[in-house]
Symmetry: C2
Subunit: 258 residues, 2 copies
């Protein structure tokens, strides 16, 4: 079956396999070298950049749908996604994001008002924190471009995705103080200065150079290694690493990071 045939099938019969009016969208935050970024996709038939997402199948849960769609739209697998809020305002789609002429031009199809794709959608928002890696959509007919944007400098977003990003960021920053993050985002071994910078970027706040790291140490979340990094004409900082057991239990039990 060609990509176009697959698409026609989905547009005409998708309601047999998917839940009409139910989508998920994912705000994937990325950290690299002191910058906080967001992964966006640009579908050929959407006029604006959007969060990656799509329709939920009948036979999958929301978490599964979020993981599947993220992989399809961005090529990134095995992301840890966390639900933050569901959006269902009846006007949320009326933002001139979908371009029906472009859609017709590319597919020869029109989406009538009786199509299962028409009408008001509810979307379940998920967020994730990821290392900044190569993102690459899986090829399909309307295959989207995707890349990272600095959260301080986002393009105009489609649908109600600007509101969604705001809510995702707020939720993520609250969770930041209750659950450990950083594994897989920081290198295996890192200096105290690096983890402090990481938390500063994620939280958007300034932290104390020694008090914040020593809080992490006193919680047992990070521990010294016996390696140092050489960084030129300065005292060589020690490498630290996450304590696996404490980290895992903090993920379950939560913690308080002021």
């Amino acid at each position: 079956m060609t990509a176009l045939q697959e698409l026609r099938e989905f547009i005409e019969k998708g309601y047999l396999t998917h839940r009409p009016h139910v989508t998920v969208d994912c705000a994937i935050f990325g950290y690299h070298d002191g910058e906080l970024k967001l992964l966006l996709v640009k579908n050929k038939v959407f006029t604006k950049w959007c969060l990656p997402g799509g329709f939920v199948r009948n036979d999958e849960g929301l978490d599964q749908a979020a993981a599947r769609l993220t992989a399809e739209r961005t090529g990134i697998e095995n992301l840890f996604l966390k639900q933050f809020k569901t959006f269902g305002d009846p006007l949320r789609n009326d933002n001139n994001t979908f371009d029906p002429e472009k859609f017709f031009e590319l597919t020869g199809l029109r989406i009538g008002e009786n199509s299962w794709l028409a009408g008001k959608n509810v979307t379940v928002g998920f967020y994730a924190i990821s290392d900044i890696i190569q993102a690459m959509p899986r090829p399909d007919f309307l295959s989207s471009e995707c890349r990272w944007f600095s959260v301080d400098n986002l393009p105009e977003l489609g649908f109600d995705h600007e509101e969604m990003v705001g809510e995702a960021l707020t939720t993520m920053r609250i969770h930041l103080y209750h659950f450990p993050i950083g594994k897989n985002l920081l290198p295996e071994k890192f200096t105290l200065k690096e983890i402090k910078l990481f938390y500063e970027v994620m939280s958007g706040k300034t932290l104390h150079a020694s008090n914040f790291p020593s809080k992490l140490i006193s919680l047992g979340l990070i521990v010294k290694t016996d390696e140092k990094r050489s960084i030129g004409a300065h005292r060589a900082p020690l490498y630290y690493t996450f304590d696996e057991a404490v980290y895992e239990s903090a993920l379950k039990e939560g913690l308080v990071l002021v």
Copy 2:
């Protein structure tokens, strides 16, 4: 149009006005005299007690739907409802909650597998905190019984509503420490002992008899009045009341209650 006709219309044509596969459910917690309760409904065609809820219309937002359905199912209007989580496991409805024979007996209808009502639902969970008032469903054909249950002694619940109640309670108890509650639940004027008991019941924890109230006072959230209550052969406690301005700003800005 009779109630039965209305019901038939909904079952056959409801997809024209409602979003298939999208429902909301509301966990309404109530406080009265030191007890935490939950409002449940018992629909004639459901075998178990459930959270009040139902399908979302095309022309309404999720918040509106939650408010409308709560009013329809329980008779309670103007509740402040807060979204906590959305549930979409494909097996969440397979709990023998719906009784198709009873449904046929009452309506003469069967819901075929092609009905817009069949298939997997996603439900958006809302919670609310309410004073315990008279609850009374609006009369309709499958009109449900509804009443308060102590959260320590709930009946078996339909669908995945037991999981939902657990999540609602957890979320509510986290919010308890970040947002003020109590207005409209406590009387206009209350003693320090009463508000301490209120927070103990809501949080499920024991609080210090003087430290907890003095925290509330030092935050400015509650203030002394010059009235006392007479309670027999003991020192008469002073009445306190919420400071309107501080309460409202804390609702917006949040606060930290230990």
